[in-house]
């Protein structure tokens, strides 16, 4: 169940609907680069709930045909240039959403139900452009219109976490949205900073932040696996690297140069 990051990348098929975390959750950047090394294509991305550098790079590399998200940005480093460019050129399909709808669609899958009701949304242009969302009259209190969003079952969830244990359990701490991601996915591929001995379930304190191995198909150890993004209290975002990316990716050619350099610099 443990292998290298390229073994993990090999398990993710072209065309998959993949769930990816927000920039504060543990973004598997090393795995993302491994996917690009193996020239992954036709991905459909589902962001929980927003997309980060990872999404921008995958889109810039031409590996994405569709994205469902409440936003894509580089956070304090500005707009996501490849994402904006692709939308403006019409080369990817965007299913625009809002954060709680991204959560709710995975919750529905997590709970084994076909839809979740959701407040808000009525009268927004988001709703106007989503054929898969439905407005119904609240059956328990007629005269109360409410939106239903459908269950989304992911083919694969990918994320980066601080620790795994020897049983293959993953420590996610209070980043519980990663549990939702894993619960709603057929399979989960996870990178971690390191593997520790024993089992998180041996102590209640560590069990509280664990995700059971039953949801995890494979794990690879990649120190600094979220770089240049940060990882919780482990390491901060690499501002210089992010600024360099934001600048380079302003043009398609600049992005390509960045990508080639970055892939060349990563040990295969």
């Amino acid at each position: 169940m443990q292998g290298g990051v390229d073994d993990l990348a090999a398990r993710l098929p072209n065309g998959a609907l993949i769930g990816v975390p927000a920039d504060y959750s543990g973004v598997p950047m090393a795995l993302t680069l491994a996917l690009l090394r193996r020239k992954v294509r036709d991905l459909r991305l589902f962001c929980l709930p927003t997309g980060s550098l990872q999404v921008d790079v995958l889109i810039g590399a031409g590996a994405v045909v569709q994205i469902e998200t409440s936003a894509v940005s580089l956070g304090e480093f500005g707009l996501a240039p490849c994402f904006s460019r692709a939308v403006e050129a019409g080369t990817i399909k965007v299913k625009d959403s809002t954060c709680p709808a991204m959560h709710a669609q995975l919750t529905a899958t997590e709970r084994g139900i076909p839809f979740m009701p959701m407040r808000g949304l009525l009268g927004s242009d988001l709703l106007a452009h989503r054929a898969d969302w439905r407005v119904v009259d609240n059956p328990l209190q007629p005269g109360d219109p409410i939106v239903l969003v459908p269950a989304t079952r992911l083919d694969v969830a990918i994320f980066h976490a601080p620790l795994a244990d020897q049983e293959g359990n993953v420590w996610i701490g209070r980043r519980r949205e990663l549990a939702t991601l894993a619960h709603a996915a057929e399979r989960s591929l996870v990178t971690v900073e390191r593997v520790v001995g024993g089992s998180f379930f041996e102590r209640e304190e560590t069990a509280a932040g664990a995700l059971s191995s039953l949801y995890v198909e494979a794990i690879a150890t990649v120190p600094q696996g979220a770089w240049p993004l940060g990882l919780g209290d482990r390491y901060p975002v690499d501002g210089a690297a992010m600024r360099a990316y934001a600048k380079a990716a302003r043009t398609a050619a600049g992005f390509r140069t960045w990508l080639d350099g970055t892939l060349a610099g990563v040990p295969a």
Binding site: S70, A71, T98, G120, S124, D125, T180
Partner: protein, 242 residues
């Protein structure tokens, strides 16, 4: 030391809008609202949740807990920006041009299409005050300013603050009312810079500046608390007010 639309003035104005709310939540990349919220915390014991902070973030159910909390009615004030804001308080966070083939794409709606409905007081804050940002009609409605009767909507926009003007939003009629102006800015300038029609109070007053007490709070406990999430900004703020 500080001018009428400097950070210190805007923070103080935002803090007045927050008042003594029980719980204020502030999204990412919002140093001024965060500072205003922390000012309310020091002054009134307001609970402050900064989404991208670890210290000022009570969530242990993952990032959905903010939305759950708002849905439970436990958040009183939230801040929203906007690529465009129009005279009906519709907010656009998605982009300009004709959706989906936009001329200029921005990040997206984030939580706005939900929070703008369920948080009682949503304060719209956009420093740039120009016909480009304050438009007759937004190109894309991320969240509408008002909803028809029958739509569950305990919340919505209450105010709009820019670097030039403070508007209150009247949900019943769906219009902004100019309540105060940046002291050096005549009403005519505000009218020219605003792409939508609005009402105004009689003889729109200049807005008040920070008091000595406000400035002491900002330099001291607010700058200190802000440093975890916005170290650069907190340093600049404290230095500027020193």
């Amino acid at each position: 030391m500080t001018t009428g639309s400097s950070d210190a003035w805007l923070i103080t104005l935002l803090a007045r809008l927050i008042g003594s709310a029980r719980h204020v939540a502030v999204g990412a990349a919002s140093p001024l609202p965060a500072a205003a919220a922390l000012m309310a915390k020091v002054r009134h014991g307001t609970r402050v949740t900064l989404l991208h902070s670890r210290r000022y973030n009570p969530f242990t159910d993952g990032s959905r807990e903010l939305f759950d909390l708002a849905g439970q009615g436990r958040i009183d004030v939230f801040f929203l920006g906007g690529v465009q804001i129009d005279g009906q308080a519709n907010v656009n966070l998605v982009g300009t041009g004709t959706y989906p083939r936009l001329d200029k794409r921005f990040p997206g709606c984030f939580g706005a299409a939900y929070l703008a409905y369920v948080v009682p007081r949503v304060i719209l804050f956009r420093e740039e005050h120009s016909p480009r940002t304050l438009v007759e009609r937004v190109d894309f409605i991320s969240a509408p300013g008002t909803s028809p009767p029958g739509v569950f909507r305990p919340g919505g926009p209450s105010h709009l603050l820019t670097s030039l003007a403070l508007f209150a939003f009247d949900r019943a009629i769906g219009r902004f009312r100019l309540e105060a102006r940046q002291p050096d800015t005549p009403i005519e300038t505000i009218q020219r810079a605003t792409g939508f029609a609005f009402d105004q109070v009689p003889s729109v007053p200049p807005w008040p500046g920070p008091t000595t007490d406000d400035l002491a709070l900002l330099r001291g406990p607010v700058a200190t608390a802000l440093a975890e999430s916005y170290p650069e900004f907190a340093r600049r703020l404290a230095a500027h007010l020193a």
